[in-house]
């Protein structure tokens, strides 16, 4: 059932384990792309189906989230130092961070929650974490819409640079895909992964400058500056903020984010595929 309808009907005998080869594997994955889009749309619809306000929650949830964080960190604790447009800063940071956070946590369950399908049908297993990451991309889109509205409400002018924002999200998507493939397999070995991930992300929340500006802490401290530059989450946040809010951009941050994204994707895909035939079994 591998190469599906296209090549399968050829009269040649073929090795049933041919997806051991990378080329054949990627071909079949491309062949199953409609599975990915179906699962993603399905899941988005399912999430809000039991709520009274239904789809409105796709917008309400990010709006309320930003309200809570702004109340605590903008008005009560005032972590606003070194930031001109704190509401804009916070909104972009939070939603970009949440995209990676949710994407990773969903991907960690992608393989373990699909045992039935894995046992019944042969298909490239990487489709499962890819589907979950695409799902989270779709789920993040309304929050990026809310983000634009909030930024506009702060008096920030529209800029041609905003067109670069989707490119940053595309880069982040590639990064998320790599991390997703990695945690999807990790969870099959160590079920505790899903317990640990929230703490990893709590650390990243404070260590990447999501809700306060870490640049002012790192100023003058070369080691700390480099630690932030090596933190992919910090780099993605900084890039996203630059496209919307402007200011100076440290070019190293751009390189770091790009290298992280490509490296995470390549490593994640390679490592996930190494255990291809063990998914779904006892």
């Amino acid at each position: 059932m591998s190469i599906a309808s296209s090549a399968a009907r050829s009269s040649e005998l073929r090795d049933v384990h041919e997806t051991d080869r990378l080329g054949a594997y990627v071909n079949v994955m491309w062949d199953r792309r409609s599975y990915v889009s179906f699962v993603a749309l399905q899941e988005i619809r399912r999430r809000q189906v039991n709520n009274v306000l239904g789809n409105l929650w796709h917008l309400l949830n990010p709006a309320l989230t930003i309200g809570v964080y702004f109340l605590i960190f903008g008005l009560l604790i005032k972590t606003t130092r070194g930031v001109d447009n704190f509401l804009g800063f916070l909104t972009i940071g939070l939603f970009v961070y949440q995209f990676t956070q949710r994407s990773t946590i969903t991907a960690s369950k992608a393989v373990v929650s699909n045992r039935g399908l894995l046992q019944a049908i042969q298909f490239p297993r990487a489709i499962l974490p890819v589907s979950s990451t695409v799902t989270e991309l779709l789920a993040a889109l309304p929050s990026f819409g809310v983000m634009i509205l909030v930024v506009l409400s702060t008096g920030q002018g529209v800029s041609i640079r905003w067109l670069l924002f989707p490119l940053v999200i595309a880069l982040q998507f590639v990064f998320n895909l790599g991390v997703g493939l990695f945690v999807a397999r990790l969870t099959t070995h160590v079920r505790d992964t899903s317990q640990i991930l929230p703490f990893v992300f709590r650390l990243l929340l404070y260590g990447s400058g999501v809700i306060f500006n870490v640049d002012s802490y790192a100023e003058g401290d070369a080691t700390l500056e480099w630690l932030f530059r090596l933190n992919p989450m910090y780099c993605l946040l900084t890039l996203a903020r630059w496209t919307i809010l402007g200011g100076d951009l440290d070019i190293i941050v751009l390189f770091s984010a790009a290298i992280w994204a490509v490296a995470a994707f390549l490593f994640g895909f390679w490592w996930f595929r190494r255990a291809e035939s063990s998914y779904g079994q006892q």
């Binding site: 591998s2 049933v16 997806t19 062949d31 199953r32 399908l117 046992q119 160590v190």
Partner: protein, 245 residues
């Protein structure tokens, strides 16, 4: 080389399971044991299995529990990794089992669509097959309900319908006929015969010897992962039935 009428070619196939106790592993166990030295138990599921299946053949596979019958079918379907040896097939090989419990929170319709898409069918093909499935599975209005409201019989009927959405070149059947009520069994037998006529080859695992006598032209007897006998149905089944005497 007269291989043009070969449908399946299995050579020196060996499959071993490494039992890691992985599923139940938690961090404390992992730490205690050290991250490198995982204790593994190796189980030889299949050893030195070789046989050919020609176009038009229906092969019944018998053997006691744990003899490697299901592993053999899973390996031919590409679901199970092999240790050594080769498995060549002509066209698509598709395993029809009873365990195709897909997503229990989704409706019958959604499950059919999911299963079809994962198999590589297009939305149009699946939509076209839907009325036939409603009819065949006898689920009708239940198709719109989530699968966790189904009885085990209904679930099995749906799984069977999903698995037979497409006519594969090689049909692998693992005890799938034992599901559902009498009338569904009759319908599924008819469906399998229909697929058999279109498929190039059929391999089936069952404990029901009568079924093998009725549908197969050849029988393979597996014992502890090795082929014990391979030949005409009556010959092999006679041997098999005398095994304990």
């Amino acid at each position: 080389m007269v291989s043009s009428d070969l449908s399946v070619e299995v050579r020196d196939l060996a499959v071993t399971y490494k039992v890691y106790e992985e599923a139940s592993l938690d961090l404390s166990q992992l730490a205690r044991r050290g991250f490198r030295s995982r204790r593994t138990v190796t189980v030889d599921a299949l050893q030195g299995v070789s046989f050919d299946v020609h176009v038009g053949e229906a092969v019944g596979i018998v053997g006691s529990n744990g003899s490697g019958k299901s592993t053999l079918l899973r390996t031919i379907a590409g679901l199970q990794k092999r240790q050594s040896g080769t498995v060549l097939v002509r066209g698509s090989a598709h395993l029809l089992g009873v365990n195709a419990a897909l997503q229990k929170s989704l409706s019958g319709y959604r499950n059919v669509t999911l299963g079809g898409l994962a198999m590589g069918m297009s939305r149009a093909e699946i939509d076209a097959a839907m009325p036939g499935i409603e009819e065949f599975s006898g689920l009708r209005e239940a198709m719109g309900r989530p699968m966790n409201t189904y009885s085990s019989g209904m679930r099995a009927r749906l799984a069977f319908s999903i698995a037979t959405l497409q006519v594969p070149d090689i049909l692998l059947i693992d005890e799938a006929l034992a599901v559902g009520d009498k009338s569904f069994r009759k319908r599924s037998l008819a469906r399998i015969n229909e697929i058999r006529e279109q498929a190039n080859a059929v391999l089936m695992v069952t404990h029901n010897l009568k079924e093998i006598r009725e549908t197969c032209s050849r029988t393979i007897w597996l014992d502890e992962g090795r082929i014990q006998a391979d030949g005409p149905v009556d010959e092999v089944l006679d041997l098999y039935e005398q095994r304990d005497d």
